[in-house]
Symmetry: D2
Subunit: 140 residues, 4 copies
């Protein structure tokens, strides 16, 4: 599987996500990134449910988001993901959100996540879960 | 302790809770009810954290909400709670939300919750946690 | 168009909608109802965007929800809607949420909405927007 | 008024903000930043409501957040704000979130906001609202 085989995640902006400025409130994008990330992980073969069954959780350690164009209720965005960096311990994903009607980029974002066991100890996928490590490595 | 000793829960309506109608989105009130309920439980001596340490969770099995007057960003509401019914297994709470500036009731609501152990089995507080049972009974 | 032509709304339970009980937090269902309602309105020919262009908003005046079975992250629910009552001024919708894997009903709900102009005045669709009135009437 | 006169914003972590990892979901912090920002603006004399009455809105154009320590239900955080940069057009705020029990920093964050009129045109506070410009300048 190659990055070009990955479908972007499609998301429709919901009414309950608007604010009184008449736009999608900026906090909701962080949830959209998560939905896109979980979809991406599933597509490359690392479902979040499977991770949790292995006793792994993947907390976000950093997020950044640059809002270039507002999104309004009823509009749809496509969210494309690239693995920007993967160290065996940390995973940095870059997101490009585009309005599906205009194809204009509305937001770019980045998340850094790590992997932990249920006790909160940092896990090296490279060392402890080499099969998952391989999956991330091939997209990095 | 008597019901008259319980302070209502005060909540300020936040910007991120507005929608493009320019009012607080109705889904947020369900979160406000939860905050008020947890505050009420703490005041009568049953903190939610303590329940969870006893291996108890208290899922909501029904909620209803009647919106009488809109609430806007920056306004504050007071949330008063009464125990409407308590059976030893189920707890029905009634909520009255009033605008603190006008004292007008803006919303009335009701929640029904039960008590479960971590495996999802229904717990009778009356039978298994008589001390907590007493606390709820005195307000019913 | 008949009620049997309406597709139920499909919704996947998201990670950011879970709580520390390990289930979808009950407040999120109120948002799901809204998404299903807006989808239903679109299907019968009354898009929410079109309503807003007519200067109409449709606030929720009451909501009730009965949670019968928990929903967990990654599960999908189908949301079917019926017009329970329509008076020309108020619209009461009944919702049945079923787990798409098991077909078991997990939640039933009801919303009452009215129609207002931007100044907050109650609108009678029957009187002022007879075409929209017809659309609702045929499903009541 | 000096920066040392500004009270940090206190926020209790709510149950509905947890996720199934048992921690506060990272998207909620973006809402906390907004609450702290609005409180900060009020304290320095620029209430968000007043801005909106002047026909101004203040959209977020960028946000970043670094999560250093998890926050759990029932814990409280204090959010201190500094004006990192103010250009007359853009306002960059830096946030330090600390657990009030341990005084440990749990999160640092930054937001960039601009100022727009209702038509979506960028406003220079320096040029068009010199009094507000002065207020921001004294903290920069």
């Amino acid at each position: 599987m190659q990055l070009s085989d990955i479908r972007p995640y499609l998301r429709r902006a919901q009414y309950h996500e608007t604010d009184q400025m008449g736009i999608i409130h900026h906090a909701n994008y962080i949830k959209w990134l998560e939905e896109a990330r979980i979809d991406f992980l599933e597509q490359i073969g690392v479902s979040y449910g499977a991770l949790e069954k292995l006793g792994l959780v993947s907390p976000i350690v950093a997020v950044s988001c640059e809002y270039k164009r507002m999104v309004r209720f009823g509009e749809s965005v496509s969210i494309a993901i690239q693995v920007k960096k993967y160290t065996g311990v940390k995973l940095v994903l870059a997101y490009t959100l585009a309005n599906t009607a205009s194809n204009e980029v509305c937001t770019i974002a980045e998340t850094t996540s790590c992997f932990m066991n249920r006790e909160g100890g940092i896990i090296s996928l490279k060392k402890d879960f080499p099969a998952i490590h391989e999956l991330f490595s091939q997209f990095a």
